[in-house]
């Protein structure tokens, strides 16, 4: 493509670089990162809602400053979502759900600083890796990502679902039961192809189904609140005497060594999945988590505060940001809600992201790419500076922290769609979470089914509509066949692994 030739060091690249290092742009990036971390941490405040709050500001600001601000918020929000996942076990964003699996246990074991440090560093490396993808090979990758069709996406999502096996090791029946409950819940609302109402009982609120984040808040936070009621000061059985390390901000060298592989997996998986419109952060985070567990010798420590289990999803969800910018910048196709808003914010200033932008305003296009680079740098600096404060948050007396979390759950589930109905849905999922805890059914398979179920059905049915019912499309498309092959390997691997370690439990 023509664009490929343009990616060489030329005047536009330099111009873009200079635009991104203007003091005002840098300041805007830094403010954006800070706000992003704050927004990301508050349950119910998604990155999209944070960006929307700032959007009116960008009506009056210079476009290069606006985009710096918004990109800072995007990158900061991804990390902020993980902070609340690690500290409070409430993922601030869907992409941070996988981080809670090991981040929260490590935090409860008295090492919140270590968990946060690993998350910050992994995010930074993941973000930088996706910046390189964006800067060096964006146009070619964009075309590759575009050639994904419905059958390929179905198989990819199916592959994502096989991650469930890893969380069902204790009991296959209970794990699969949890997944099936999740898939059943996904069928609530209009079906993705015909729009037929399913299980809505005539209520318009249910037409759009169950919001993933609403369910997430209920499933994670409510059982934990109830449990802490019963146990007074203790929040989790595994709580040990707190010995928080305030001093060490960056991970120790032994941790860095353990992070190498997971961060590489996360960076690659995140960047690639970020480029596919609609695939998104949660799949990338869970898949990286799963692959890391499978390639690590000591997979038993996962779910109990493994450094690797934090590093992989964190690198992945921040790499998704750079990946999502690839189709947005090169084709004007948004991969997630945030990039859709970014496109709108640029349009207001007469700048339409897409192939033309690289031809007509290449300096600006590169300015955006470099702003993304600086957003990652500032994210690291601001997050490290904020760590001391954040770690203290965990030391807040339970009598203050728990009611605060309860309020955040209610406000958060309301704020997502400005709907009181969603608050009831959140409480329903809280009860479901309690019941599952009581029956010792793992929650993660349900969670995965909720994230992936709708895409699974949608892509399956579009693929079959397109092929007029011919199932062979899933095997004749090379991408699809490849993903299905890996899915089979993934399942076999999990079964073998489970037989080996059946005696030990994997808590989720």
């Amino acid at each position: 493509m023509d664009l490929g030739k343009k990616i060489v060091m030329n005047g536009d690249v330099l111009q873009g670089f200079l635009q991104a290092i203007q003091p005002t742009s840098l300041a805007a990036t830094a403010i954006g990162c800070f706000l992003g971390i704050v927004f990301g941490m508050i349950p119910g405040m998604t990155i999209s809602s944070g960006i929307i709050i700032l959007l009116p500001l960008t009506f009056v600001l210079d476009p290069s400053i606006s985009i710096s601000l918004l990109l800072g918020l995007y990158v900061g929000g991804m990390l902020g979502g993980s902070f609340s996942a690690i500290l409070l076990n409430i993922p601030g964003t869907p992409s941070a759900a996988a981080t809670a699996l090991d981040g929260y246990p490590l935090s409860v074991q008295g090492e919140p600083g270590r968990a946060l440090g690993v998350a910050v560093l992994a995010s930074f490396v993941g973000g930088l890796f996706s910046f390189l993808c964006l800067f060096l090979i964006a146009p070619r990758l964009a075309d590759l990502a575009l050639s994904f069709r419905a059958p390929d996406l179905f198989s990819l999502v199916f592959l994502g679902l096989t991650v469930i096996c890893s969380f069902a090791a204790k009991s296959w029946i209970k794990g699969l039961l949890s997944a099936v409950i999740g898939l059943a819940i996904v069928t609530i609302g209009q079906d993705p192809i015909m729009g037929t109402a399913r299980f809505t009982f005539g209520d318009a609120n249910l037409l759009s189904g169950v919001n993933f984040l609403t369910a997430l808040i209920g499933l994670f936070a409510i059982p934990q609140l109830i449990q802490s009621l019963g146990e007074g000061q203790i929040i989790n059985n595994t709580t040990q005497p707190a010995s928080m390390s305030f001093k060490k901000l960056l991970p120790a060298s032994i941790d860095i060594k353990r992070m190498r592989l997971p961060v590489s997996i996360g960076g690659i998986v995140g960047s690639l999945l970020g480029m596919l419109p609609g695939a998104g952060g949660p799949i990338a985070a869970f898949m990286s988590y799963d692959y890391t567990r499978k390639t690590t010798d000591d997979s038993q420590k996962f779910g109990k505060g493994a450094i690797e289990g934090i590093a992989a999803p964190e690198a992945a969800n921040n790499a998704v940001t750079g990946g999502a910018l690839v189709p947005m910048m090169t084709l004007g196709i948004p991969g997630d809600p945030v990039t859709a808003i970014l496109i709108g914010a640029l349009l207001i200033h007469g700048l339409a992201p897409g192939p033309l932008l690289f031809i007509e305003r290449a300096d600006f296009a590169y300015g955006v790419i470099f702003s993304f680079f600086w957003a990652n740098i500032f994210n690291l600096i601001i997050a490290l500076a904020a760590l001391r404060l954040l770690v203290k948050l965990v030391a807040t007396p339970r009598s203050i922290l728990m009611p605060t979390i309860a309020i955040l759950c209610v406000v958060g589930s309301y704020a997502l769609r400005n709907s009181l109905f969603d608050v009831y849905v959140m409480f329903f999922f809280g009860l479901l979470g309690l019941a599952m805890k009581w029956l010792d059914i793992p929650v993660v398979p349900l969670l995965l089914a909720l994230v992936l179920g709708r895409q699974l059905e949608e892509n399956l049915r579009i693929a079959l509509t397109g092929s007029q019912g011919d199932i062979s499309v899933f095997f004749t498309s090379p991408f699809s066949a490849f993903f299905l092959g890996i899915a089979v390997i993934s399942i076999i691997w999990s079964i073998k692994n489970t037989r080996k370690v059946r005696s030990k439990n994997i808590t989720t």
């Binding site: 009056v60 419905a150 609302g189 729009g195 759009s208 189709p327 948004p334 007469g350």
Partner: protein, 326 residues
């Protein structure tokens, strides 16, 4: 420049206040005296959202009270329209409507019709277009129509969702051509991608959704479904002028709960028209590719009635299977 605009708007605001003071009817002359809720029936970030936010921003300049955008997404607008149905008709809640108010009511997603709300006016419209990949063999609508009717292959047309305006537009043009296609409800996020990859042979899409890829020569716009050629793409013919009579424009405007006082509706219409013609909104429209052409309440009612009929006709003629039978 920015300052100047603000200043002009401020002074016009005072002027309007003054005129309201002089001519306003007693009892409602204080309207509006508090913030107005501006419901956007779609997710944050889409075209509807950005346009709506910009309009709300400009409307608050005219009205002198905050006009606060609130997203109530879900079920193609059904959630938001239902919310409005149940809101107090006091002039402090408006909805940024679209063609969806006619589609979801006709498809039975909600148990009421479009006239269960009162309507303030239209702000803008944009044509639906038939677009194909620039690598496709079709250079004009005639060749596409010929391949579609030949029966050698079943062409696939992508749309934004079953029963959406783009789907109805696709049904309208294919029945006008007289051919059968597969309709793939791929959704807004992947619709353009599916045409570029060849997964779909073409698509019916709003002009704003394809304009930039068309300018970059990645997509080819074969025809618009408008009555007249569009000033954004004057070189593209209308389907009608090629002898294929298929008309389908998408509109956006404002509605309020049934029973909202006429004074409030008129005041809102006035503010809406002022905001639509503001420099900020006009500049955005040029870039995005929609046409700002405000309509007063009475004209908009007529347009809605006509469009509602047209949609009913399309659904009947194509024997569209109603997803909901309630």
């Amino acid at each position: 420049m920015q300052l100047l605009v603000v200043k002009t708007l401020r002074s016009s605001k005072h002027l309007i206040f003054l005129s309201l003071f002089l001519f306003g009817s007693a009892g409602f002359s204080q309207y509006p005296d508090r913030a107005i809720e501006f419901v956007i029936p779609f997710d944050a970030g889409g075209g509807a959202d950005i346009e709506g936010r910009l309009l709300a921003d400009q409307m608050s300049n005219v009205l002198g009270v905050p006009v606060v955008p609130v997203n109530k997404p879900g079920a193609g607008g059904a959630v938001a329209y239902t919310y409005l149905m149940n809101s107090a008709p006091d002039g402090y809640v408006v909805i940024w409507n679209s063609t969806s108010i006619l589609t979801i009511t006709n498809l039975g997603y909600v148990p009421f019709t479009y006239d269960a709300l009162d309507h303030v006016g239209r702000v803008e419209f944009q044509p639906l277009v038939l677009a194909v990949s620039a690598n496709s063999p079709w250079n004009n609508l005639e060749s596409f129509a010929a391949d579609c009717t030949s029966g050698n292959q079943v062409l696939k047309l992508a749309n934004s969702g079953t029963g959406s305006g783009t789907h109805l537009g696709a049904l309208s043009i294919t029945s006008a051509i007289g051919c059968e296609t597969l309709h793939l409800p791929i959704g807004t996020r992947r619709r353009n991608a599916s045409v570029l990859s060849g997964e779909a042979d073409g698509m019916i899409a709003p002009l704003t959704g394809v304009i930039n890829l068309a300018k970059a020569n990645r997509l080819r716009v074969l025809a618009t479904l408008s009555a007249e050629r569009n000033s954004v793409i004057p070189e593209v013919p209308t389907a009608t002028e090629l002898g294929i009579s298929s008309l389908f424009d998408l509109f956006r405007g404002l509605s309020v709960p049934k029973g909202t006082p006429k004074e409030a509706i008129d005041r809102l219409a006035e503010a809406m028209i002022g905001a639509a013609k503001s420099e900020g909104f006009m500049r955005f429209s040029e870039e995005a590719g929609f046409t700002v052409e405000p309509m007063e309440p009475a004209d908009f009612e007529m347009l809605l009635a006509a469009e509602d009929n047209k949609i009913k006709m399309i659904l009947e003629n194509t024997e569209f299977i109603m997803p909901n039978n309630n």
